[in-house]
């Protein structure tokens, strides 16, 4: 379980992460989606204490990462596939990481086997391909058999077989009850791997919903509803085949009910509606629209 509250990171005048709050729950894969530069990596680095937040806080299983007695048993992190000394062999790298927590060589061999690195384990990391580097990063993250895994762009540089392997691997880990927090800038990859999505754009959260809802919202006609009574309206609309996503205060994205139906329902209950716009977009379009909105929103906020 990862809990972020009002997390802010500024580098000089540039705000990388702007007051975000979210919860990543155990037993499912939570996708962290956003274009490059949206603040995904910065957020993940703050979770494991590599970057110090400018404001707010983030905890893992109820405590700041550094306050745990055995951090590697709490969180395994693949933050940067290149976070390995190029002159050392994969085996020695893992052995050195494991030694900090008193984890033995047998576990090192286990994670090497788990990630399919047996044939290159005694080779120096400098000669590794991007894909092998990613596997080594995942092996390092698994050393402590952690209950929470943070993986920043784990499929980056992998061949199709490797992509499939990562997908099945993280689904399996989640089914064991672990918390999986996985970032990507590829919507298509997330649609296949994640259960829940947190979409980040320009350092702000623009969607936090089950992936099924976001896919439903993206592939079936949606209606954007802006209303001061958004929560009441959402309750009235609730039905098995209706998906309601609340992307920001006072705004609903409704799938499964046409615009006319929503308008009628609001009128019958005397609820004011400020906007009622039918939307239709593909999965990628929905994602692009979400992130583009975030950009516009920022520009207005500055003025």
């Amino acid at each position: 379980m990862i809990t972020a509250e009002g997390l802010v990171k500024r580098y000089g005048a540039k705000t990388a992460v702007n007051d975000i709050s979210f919860t990543v729950r155990p037993g499912q894969v939570t996708g962290f989606l956003g274009p490059n530069g949206a603040g995904k990596s910065t957020t993940m680095r703050m979770i494991v204490g590599l970057d110090r937040p400018t404001g707010g806080s983030v905890t893992v299983n109820g405590k700041p990462y550094a306050a745990h007695r055995a951090p590697l048993h709490e969180v395994g992190a693949l933050l940067d596939a290149k976070a390995v000394h190029t002159g050392r062999t994969a085996y020695n790298h893992l052995l050195a990481m494991a030694a900090t927590h008193g984890i033995g060589a047998s576990r090192v061999r286990e994670v090497i086997e788990m990630t399919g690195l047996e044939s290159v384990a005694r080779k120096r990391v400098g000669g590794f391909s991007l894909g092998m580097g990613q596997r080594l990063g995942i092996a390092a993250a698994m050393l402590g058999d952690p209950s929470t895994l943070i993986l920043d762009e784990p499929v980056n540089g992998l061949d199709p077989e490797g992509v499939l392997w990562v997908r099945q691997f993280v689904r399996h880990l989640a089914s064991e009850g672990r918390t999986i927090f996985l970032s990507s800038h590829l919507m298509s990859e997330m649609a296949l791997t994640a259960d829940h999505l947190i979409v980040l754009g320009r350092g702000e959260i623009i969607a936090d919903a089950p992936v099924a809802d976001i896919i439903a919202g993206g592939t079936r006609p949606r209606v954007l509803v802006r209303s001061p009574h958004a929560s009441q309206l959402a309750d009235l609309l609730a039905a098995p085949d209706v998906a309601v996503i609340r992307s920001e205060a006072g705004v609903l994205e409704v799938t499964g009910v046409p615009a006319s139906g929503i308008g009628d329902l609001a009128a019958q209950n005397g609820l004011a509606i400020h906007e009622l716009t039918p939307l239709s977009a593909s999965l990628e379009d929905a994602y692009m629209a979400l992130t583009a909105d975030a950009v516009e929103y920022r520009t207005e906020a500055v003025r």
């Binding site: 155990p26 680095r45 494991v48 204490g49 590599l50 970057d51 110090r52 990462y65 550094a66 007695r69 055995a70 951090p71 590697l72 048993h73 992190a77 933050l79 940067d80 290149k82 976070a83 390995v84 000394h85 190029t86 002159g87 050392r88 062999t89 020695n92 790298h93 052995l95 050195a96 990481m97 030694a99 900090t100 927590h101 008193g102 984890i103 390092a140 402590g144 058999d145 209950s147 929470t148 880990l173 064991e176 009850g177 672990r178 918390t179």
Partner: protein, 284 residues
């Protein structure tokens, strides 16, 4: 009687028998040190320089004696001084290798990104720096000791040809040999601090060599008495004092071995303190 329903251990609740400890971090840093070729090469170079310099130095001094002076009539402390000079001569060059190595131990982690793995495993950070310093200090000291003892053997063999000898059990012999190894180890830790502060191999090496080689020359060139007075307090001058001082106590024109050691410790302390503050404060 109680029956417990068999339950699969949930990974998130599974008890782990191991945890982060300083002993573990020390072991980790030792694995890191011994698993890089650059470390092994640096240490081999320290030993090779020491033996080679001892050979050149003792051969040249011994041949001078063959030319005239009667060596067998030489007083015992004169003989000791000759052999000791030759045994620790390699330290002058070895200190440059130790300095470069100390920088590379940490700057190599910054340039490759390894530091992020290190600090994720040891999120409190300072134990990682302390463990690096301890492992580097002990290893460099032992390598320096082996190098100086080897140089003593080489020198003794060469000088035996001209009837000059010294015993290793004499304080005047083993103290400089220990002092030279201690100085090498302290230089490497000083360089570790500089490397941590600058986070770059080129910058760190330039800074360390600058302090050791350039600073004494610059101070000598300044035509003022205060500049001249500062020279004994420089890292390399004081370091020299640890293993070449004729006396342990200060004299009119030298600090003596103990005061020299204190001055070097102050340099090391300042460097490590600066490194600790910056390591703790900065984003990795």
């Amino acid at each position: 009687m109680t029956t417990t329903t068999p339950q699969l251990a949930h990974p998130s609740q599974r008890a782990h028998s191991t945890s982060l400890s300083f002993g573990g971090v020390l072991r980790s840093e030792w694995i890191k040190l011994r698993s890089l070729r650059s470390t092994t090469w640096s240490y081999l170079i320290v030993i090779a320089i020491s033996l080679g310099m001892a050979l050149i130095m003792s051969l040249s001094m011994a041949s001078d004696m063959n030319g005239g002076a009667d060596a067998s009539g030489m007083p015992a402390d004169g003989q000791v001084s000759l052999i000791v000079q030759s045994s620790v001569f390699g330290v002058f060059f070895g200190q440059l290798v130790a300095g470069v190595l100390g920088v590379l131990i940490i700057s190599g982690e910054y340039t490759t990104g390894m530091i992020r793995s290190t600090l994720t495993a040891v999120p409190k950070r300072l134990p990682a720096l302390a463990a690096k310093a301890i492992v580097l200090f002990v290893t460099t000291f032992l390598v320096g000791l082996v190098a100086n003892l080897g140089a003593f053997v080489v020198s003794s063999v060469v000088f035996a040809g001209v009837d000059v000898s010294a015993s290793l059990v004499e304080p005047a012999v083993f103290l400089p040999i220990l002092g030279g190894a201690l100085y090498l180890a302290l230089v490497s830790v000083f360089a570790l601090g500089v490397g941590t502060m600058l986070r770059s191999s080129a910058g760190g090496i330039a800074a360390v060599l600058g302090v050791m080689l350039l600073l004494p020359t610059v101070l000598q060139m300044i035509p003022a008495e205060w500049a001249h007075d500062l020279i004994p307090y420089l890292l390399s001058s004081a370091g020299l004092g640890i293993f070449t001082s004729a006396t342990a106590e200060p004299t009119a024109d030298a600090l003596g071995a103990w005061l020299s050691l204190l001055v070097v410790l102050a340099w090391v302390g300042a460097s490590i303190a600066g490194a600790a503050v910056l390591l703790k404060r900065r984003d990795a």
